[in-house]
Symmetry: C2
Subunit: 138 residues, 2 copies
Amino acid sequence: MQKLKQLNHLLIEFYDKLSSWEQSVVKETGYTLAQVHTIEVLGSHGPMRMKELADRLSITTGTLTVQVDKLVKAGLIVRLPQESDRRSILVDLTPEGRALHEHHNALHLALVEDLTRHLSSEEQQMLITSMTKINREF
Amino acid sequence: MQKLKQLNHLLIEFYDKLSSWEQSVVKETGYTLAQVHTIEVLGSHGPMRMKELADRLSITTGTLTVQVDKLVKAGLIVRLPQESDRRSILVDLTPEGRALHEHHNALHLALVEDLTRHLSSEEQQMLITSMTKINREF
DNA sequence: TTATTTAGTTTGATTATCAAGGTATCTATT
DNA sequence: AATAGATACCTTGATAATCAAACTAAATAA
């Protein structure tokens, strides 16, 4: 029970710190949090339809339409109408969008490297194992 | 390097899932995410001044003033003017606010219990150790 | 005393978001 | 084939969160 409380607190603390880190990192790009988040999802999962993207971002397709409009205007993504289903639209990164993702992802990797540098190889391995189990349960 | 990528991905996945979970849990309370987040911080760290609360929430004091107005009106918190420094104001939970925090916190604990139930006692212990180190570095 | 810093508030503008309604397209049923 | 229902996306109107900048009051330093 004490362990649970402790773990709960640690996970929340990590969440808050990551949230704050992301905010400050995003601010420097000149884009908004929602925009960068959209780029992140497209960058790490590849092109996808509006519906799926909205689901992954936990927003409605209505909200996403507005967001995608801005990103298209900014030259970061493109809308690709689908022949197979003419209702749906594939959204994909432009080279500029991909560049932004690469850059942002590099910052994430550098952060994780920094955060885990005092973990032994064994601890790192077990952290991977544990987080995998946790995410699977989520 | 492969490990880093893997860990980065796992942490982001966890973050996104927790974010989504929090959103749906908060929705059921009838309060907004920002409101519940404010209650959470006050509940787990105790009463504090506007400035400190704003810092912990990563928002400006201007934003917080508006937020606190709403929470006071909703009966969840109170403003306690300080005699020692008459510029500053201590913000604290009312019994109603505390009840909301208790309830929300219980959901968090239940979630963590659920997520970690397939971890061995040893894994749980090492997860605590690792997350402690990570948060310290953050 | 005067100047500077600090704590909190107010205001105006921007962004993100949702719910609800609308259009076009696809799918299943008759 | 015709119709009904479901799905994908878009549009619109309203609300919430946020910041920057200007403001007030109080504390602190010169």
